[in-house]
C-alpha cells in the first residue's frame, strides 16, 4: 500500500470530495456549513499529489450531498469529483459541473441590489467566466469572484 493511500484513510459510509483545487478545501467545508463538531469524522488533506498535479481531499463520514450542495461546490472547486461511499465502496461518482445560471445559492454582495430587499424573488447569477469563476447578478449586474462567492453562500 503506498504512502498516499495511508495518509487518507478509507471511510465506510459517506462522501469523498476529491480533486479539489489546492488550497480550496477549507472553503469547501465552509460552504457546506461544516464548522465545529458535526458529530461525524471529517478528514481533510491539503496539497496531496495526484496524477493531475496537486489537490485537496475532503472526506465526511455518514453524510451525503444533495444537488444544491454539489452546485455550491462546483462554483469554487469546478474540478472536484464527489464520490458517494457505502460499505467502503464507491456507489456513485459525480463530476461537479458549473451551471450556466446560479439560482438561489449565493446572495448578491451588493447591499443596494433589489434582491437583498424583501422581494418575492430568488437571487440569480449568470456565470460569465468559469476559470477563474466570475458570476454576474442578473438584477444589479454586480460581478463576484470565488472569494465573494464563499462569503455570500446562502
Amino acid at each position: 500500500m503506498d504512502e498516499q493511500v495511508l495518509k487518507v484513510q478509507k471511510i465506510k459510509n459517506g462522501i469523498v470530495i476529491d480533486h479539489i483545487p489546492c488550497g480550496m478545501s477549507l472553503k469547501v467545508l465552509k460552504i457546506l456549513g461544516i464548522q465545529g463538531d458535526i458529530g461525524s469524522t471529517v478528514t481533510l488533506a491539503m496539497h496531496v499529489k495526484s496524477s493531475r498535479g496537486w489537490k485537496d481531499i475532503v472526506k465526511i463520514e455518514d453524510r451525503y450531498l444533495d444537488d444544491r450542495e454539489i452546485d455550491k461546490i462546483s462554483l469554487i472547486a469546478p474540478s472536484a469529483t464527489v464520490n458517494f461511499i457505502e460499505n467502503y465502496k464507491v456507489v456513485r461518482k459525480h463530476r461537479v459541473e458549473i451551471p450556466s445560471v446560479v439560482k438561489g445559492i449565493v446572495k448578491c454582495m451588493n447591499p443596494r441590489c433589489i434582491t437583498n430587499h424583501k422581494e418575492p424573488i430568488q437571487s440569480e447569477f449568470y456565470v460569465i467566466s468559469k476559470t477563474p469563476i466570475t458570476i454576474k447578478c442578473k438584477y444589479c449586474g454586480r460581478e463576484m469572484n470565488a472569494e465573494d462567492i464563499v462569503e455570500n453562500i446562502i
Binding site: N110, R112, C113, I114, H117, K138, Y139, G141
Partner: protein, 304 residues
C-alpha cells in the same frame, strides 16, 4: 420586434434596435415640438412609478405620452403610496400593471427595473435604478450626437467629471465605444471610471489628467457633475471641482464644430456664459429626451 419589449438595460438593445429607435425619434421631433399634432397613443395609459425624485426624466415621459394623445398616471413621491406601509415592489408593479399599458420606473435600488419587468405583463421601461442603468438617457445622448454629426464612428468623445459614480457615463461609454467612437476620459483620481466598465468597452479609452490635453481635439465634451458629498474635505472639493469646469475661456480653444453636452442638472461645472456659445447643446439634449421617449413608448406599445 419591439412590441411588448422591456427596456431595462442598454445592453438589451442591439445596434439595429437602436437604429430603429433613432429613426422613429427623428419622425417624432415635429410632434415633440408641438408643430404637428398626433393621437398615436390615444387610449393608452402610461404608469409612471417614481420611487425617487426626478424632474427631467419624469416630465419628459409625461410630455412624450401627452404629445401622442395618451394618458399618464403614477406617483413621484413614494411616501404617499402603500410602499410606505411596507408593500413589496413586486406587488406595486403587479397592481400598476393592471391599471396601465406600459410602466416607467425609477427606483433607488439597483436591479429594481429588472424585477419590475419580471412581474409586469406589459412592457417596462427603466428610468434609472440606483447606481445602475438609465438606458433612455444613453439613447437620448447618442441621439443628440447623431443629430449633430450624423455618425458616431471616429468621433472623439471626451467624458469629463465624476466617471465613478455618474451612472449616465457608464452605459454611454460602453455604447459609444461599441459604435466606434474614440473615448477620452478626464476625471479626478478618486472618481475614475470603474474597471468593470472599462472591460466592457470595445476599445480602451485614453485617460487624461486634465481637460487641457484634449481641449483642441475633442468633437464632443460630455460633462458631469462632481458631487460635493463625494469629498469629505470641502477644500479638496473646491480644488478638484474647479479644475474640471468648462469656462468661456476654454471654449475658445475648442474645435469650431465641438459640442458640449451634460445630462443636467448642472451646478457650476459649466459656466453660464458658455450657454450662449455655439458649443452648448445641453438644453437641446434635454429636449431630445422627449422624441426618444415618444419613440420608445410607440415601439414597445406596438403602434410603430
Amino acid at each position: 420586434m419591439f412590441k411588448g419589449k422591456d427596456i431595462v438595460s442598454i445592453g438589451d438593445l442591439s445596434k439595429s434596435d437602436m437604429e430603429r429607435i433613432f429613426e422613429v425619434a427623428e419622425e417624432m421631433i415635429p410632434i415633440a415640438k408641438g408643430e404637428r399634432k398626433s393621437d398615436l397613443l390615444k387610449g393608452y395609459i402610461l404608469a409612471n412609478l417614481f420611487f425617487e425624485p426626478s424632474t427631467r426624466t419624469r416630465m419628459s415621459f409625461e410630455a412624450a405620452m401627452y404629445r401622442l394623445g395618451g394618458k399618464v398616471l403614477g406617483f413621484s413621491n413614494p411616501s404617499s403610496t402603500s410602499l410606505s406601509k411596507g408593500e413589496t415592489l413586486a406587488d406595486t408593479v403587479r397592481m400598476m400593471d393592471a391599471y396601465s399599458d406600459v410602466i416607467v420606473i425609477r427606483h433607488p435600488l439597483e436591479g429594481a427595473a429588472r424585477l419590475a419587468a419580471e412581474f409586469a405583463e406589459n412592457p417596462v421601461i427603466n428610468a434609472g435604478d440606483g447606481a445602475g442603468q438609465h438606458p433612455t438617457q444613453t439613447l437620448l445622448d447618442i441621439f443628440t450626437i447623431l443629430q449633430e454629426f450624423a455618425h458616431v464612428e471616429g468621433l472623439k468623445v471626451t467624458l469629463v467629471g465624476d466617471l465613478r459614480y455618474g451612472r449616465t457615463v457608464h452605459s454611454l461609454a460602453i455604447a459609444l465605444s461599441n459604435l466606434g467612437a474614440e473615448i477620452h476620459l478626464v476625471s479626478p483620481r478618486t472618481l475614475k471610471m470603474p474597471g468593470h466598465i472599462l472591460r466592457e468597452m470595445k476599445t480602451s479609452p485614453e485617460v487624461h489628467e486634465n481637460i487641457e490635453e484634449v481641449i483642441e481635439i475633442s468633437d464632443v465634451f460630455y460633462v458631469t457633475r462632481i458631487q460635493r458629498e463625494r469629498f469629505p474635505d470641502p477644500t479638496e472639493y473646491m480644488k478638484v471641482a474647479g479644475s474640471y469646469k468648462i469656462s468661456l475661456e476654454l471654449t475658445k480653444r475648442m474645435k469650431d464644430t465641438a459640442i458640449i453636452m451634460h445630462p443636467l442638472p448642472r451646478v457650476d461645472e459649466i459656466s453660464f456664459e458658455v450657454d450662449k456659445t455655439k458649443h452648448a447643446r445641453y438644453f437641446k439634449q434635454a429636449f431630445y429626451g422627449v422624441p426618444i421617449r415618444m419613440a420608445l413608448l410607440s415601439l414597445v406599445l406596438g403602434v410603430m
